[in-house]
């Protein structure tokens, strides 16, 4: 946490998160996040040299794999029923690639 918390560029982080914020939200969240980040700086008091992070959660379990076999799944019509826009078993989204 070498950087100062005042460094938060809220509009950049919101862009990374694909989140449109109003100006009022951006101002309010900036202030609140500054408080929260100041609070979490508490963790700097801890000496974590040589401490392994917890990255696997369940003792005795690692890389739970299954056989690569075709199995029945939810019918695509049932899944597509929830789509805001769909046609011919596909989700419709705004154009991604410009025509060359």
């Amino acid at each position: 946490m070498s950087q100062k918390t005042s460094d938060i560029d809220i509009s950049y982080v919101a862009y990374l998160a694909r989140l449109q914020l109003t100006e009022v939200e951006a101002a309010r969240f900036s202030a609140q996040l500054k408080d929260i980040l100041k609070y979490v700086e508490k963790l700097n008091e801890l000496d974590v040299t040589n401490v392994e992070p917890i990255l696997t959660r369940v003792a005795g379990l690692s890389n739970v794999l299954r056989k690569d076999e075709v199995q029945p799944s939810i019918a695509s019509a049932d899944v597509l029923r929830n789509a805001p826009q769909q046609a011919r078993s596909l989700f419709i989204v705004p154009k991604i690639v410009e025509q060359g």
């Binding site: 938060i8 449109q20 700097n44 917890i54």
Partner: protein, 489 residues
């Protein structure tokens, strides 16, 4: 009142006796609960969605099949479901506008378990949006009220489930617990709520908030019901890769054995300034009671407790920022148009998520972003190892750890709504359990005087130590009558 009219006040084990004898039908039980909801939920607002006809159809089918007479413990019992758990054909909104219109195309693992056990699935209970909150105020459906005082919050995030059970609007309910979201509302509403060990209950079909922390668990009127429901929910599921293939014991067999010989650890860090005096007195009284019942009290220390809130809010938000990336307006729920996909994502998410969810996505994204990942997320995961070490050491000296569930009884709606950090700090006694992955249960241990509000006692156990915490919870409950008291509605 006739007996049939009072069926909604019954516990699972009380109903079981009468259903087995054939004194009452599943339809009568279900109708009694539906009548209770119809008469009361306008004030409590525990439910986001309910289909009475569907519940009665399920009840009639169970009556026709006669399974309630076979003795399956849950057969014919109406159970409410948190609005984050998928039930095929029903909405699953997570109390968010972004899941408007979504109808679940499949059943969660726990729902399949409930169906197999013959339970009647009632409606969907209110929650903080995507389970982010401690008061059920962060809901696009409006605020759920605490049945003990309608000006107060029921706790959260499983506040609708806790309020429904406390108000007899359900015989029992399912919740999910990422940092205390079952135990804290159970404490604030005066019911029993258990967070199982990580890996005990499959999360398949639970909308993910923070995957290294989430567990589904029961909210019930007493400890015996908790043991029954936990037994049904537990089990191995290949569709959740964190699910553990460990045999599921009959948890009710752990009850009635008393507490003689059990060592109860009391961590000094959980009895500190800031704790409400009445709540602390009730918890200390409960510890004395356990001692008088034959438990041995051991003072101990969990020295990294003060870092748990900071660790939790970095890890939980980081995981949430990744999990909630799926809500982008493509496959389900709300879509707000944009000229290109990124603009569509931004507009959809900006319009669909409420303020607390946005705040946490921003914090989590920041904690994972280039240049900050090591300073925040990685450091938090290392601190988490230290917290786990505290508990490993503590459990060398004791069989269970007993603490308050929450620093205060239920607070008033709006009281902490504008101060996220204060709201986060109200989770201080529950979040370490999720960070470490162990199990914990909250049971009623007293009331504040004016107004009369429930206070919760938290009993923590080792990984897969559910039998031990239920045994102790049951011994305490049987020696007291807190769980029998009902709000005046």
């Amino acid at each position: 009142m006739t007996i049939a009219m009072m069926l909604h006040t019954q516990t699972i084990h009380e109903l079981r006796v009468r259903l087995r004898r054939g004194d009452i039908s599943v339809r009568e039980v279900t109708q009694a609960v539906l009548d209770r909801i119809a008469g009361l939920d306008g004030r409590i607002k525990a439910y986001n969605w309910l289909n009475a006809d569907d519940a009665l159809t399920q009840a009639e089918a169970i009556d026709r099949a006669g399974v309630a007479k076979d003795g399956n413990p849950l057969a014919g019992v109406p159970i409410a479901i948190k609005d984050s758990i998928n039930v095929v054909g029903q909405p699953c909104t997570c109390a968010s506008k972004i899941l408007q219109g979504y109808i679940a195309p499949y059943d969660a693992f726990v729902i399949r378990q409930l169906r197999r056990a013959g339970a009647v699935l009632l409606g969907r209970t209110n929650m903080d949006e995507f389970a982010m909150g401690s008061s059920t105020e962060n809901s696009s459906w409006g605020v759920t009220r605490n049945p003990w005082d309608l000006e107060r919050i029921p706790g959260g995030s499983s506040g609708g489930s806790a309020a429904a059970v406390a108000a007899d609007e359900a015989i029992a309910a399912l919740g999910s617990d990422t940092g205390g979201s079952i135990r804290q509302p159970a404490a604030l509403c005066g019911c029993v709520g258990l967070k199982p060990t990580y890996g005990r209950v499959s999360r398949y079909g639970l909308v993910a908030f923070a995957s290294s922390l989430d567990q589904i668990g029961p909210l019930t009127k007493d400890v015996e019901d908790c043991a029954v429901l936990l037994g049904v929910l537990s089990g191995h599921d290949v569709k959740d890769s964190t699910s553990v293939a460990q045999a599921v014991p009959d948890y009710t067999q752990a009850l009635g054995k008393g507490v003689k010989g059990l060592r109860v650890g009391i961590p000094k860090e959980y009895f500190v300034a800031g704790m409400d005096r009445e709540a602390e007195a009730a918890v200390r009284g409960a510890i004395q009671k356990l001692q008088s019942l034959g438990a041995e009290v051991v003072e101990l220390s969990l020295p990294h407790t003060e870092y748990a809130v900071a660790v939790y809010y970095l890890i939980a938000t980081a995981e949430a920022s990744a999990n909630l990336a799926r809500f982008d307006g493509v496959r389900y729920g709300l879509r707000v148009a944009g000229d290109d996909p990124i603009e569509m994502y931004r507009q959809t998410r900006g319009a669909g998520f409420g303020p607390e969810v946005k705040r946490r996505i921003i914090l989590g994204t920041y904690a994972l972003s280039a240049g900050y990942h090591d300073a925040y997320y990685l450091r938090a995961q290392k601190a988490r190892t230290l917290i786990r070490g505290d508990f490993e050491k503590a459990f060398e000296k004791c069989d269970v750890i007993v603490t308050p569930t929450s620093p205060t009884a239920a607070f008033k709606a709006g009281e902490k709504a504008d101060d996220p950090l204060q709201m986060y700090l109200s989770d201080i006694f529950t979040i370490s359990v999720n960070l470490v992955g162990i199990c914990g249960v909250s049971i009623p241990c007293g009331f504040t005087v004016n107004p009369k509000l429930p206070i919760g006692l938290q009993i923590l156990g080792k990984s897969f130590g559910e039998e031990t915490i239920l045994r102790m919870a049951h011994a305490y409950e049987q020696a007291t009558d807190w769980h029998k008291q009902r709000p005046n509605l």
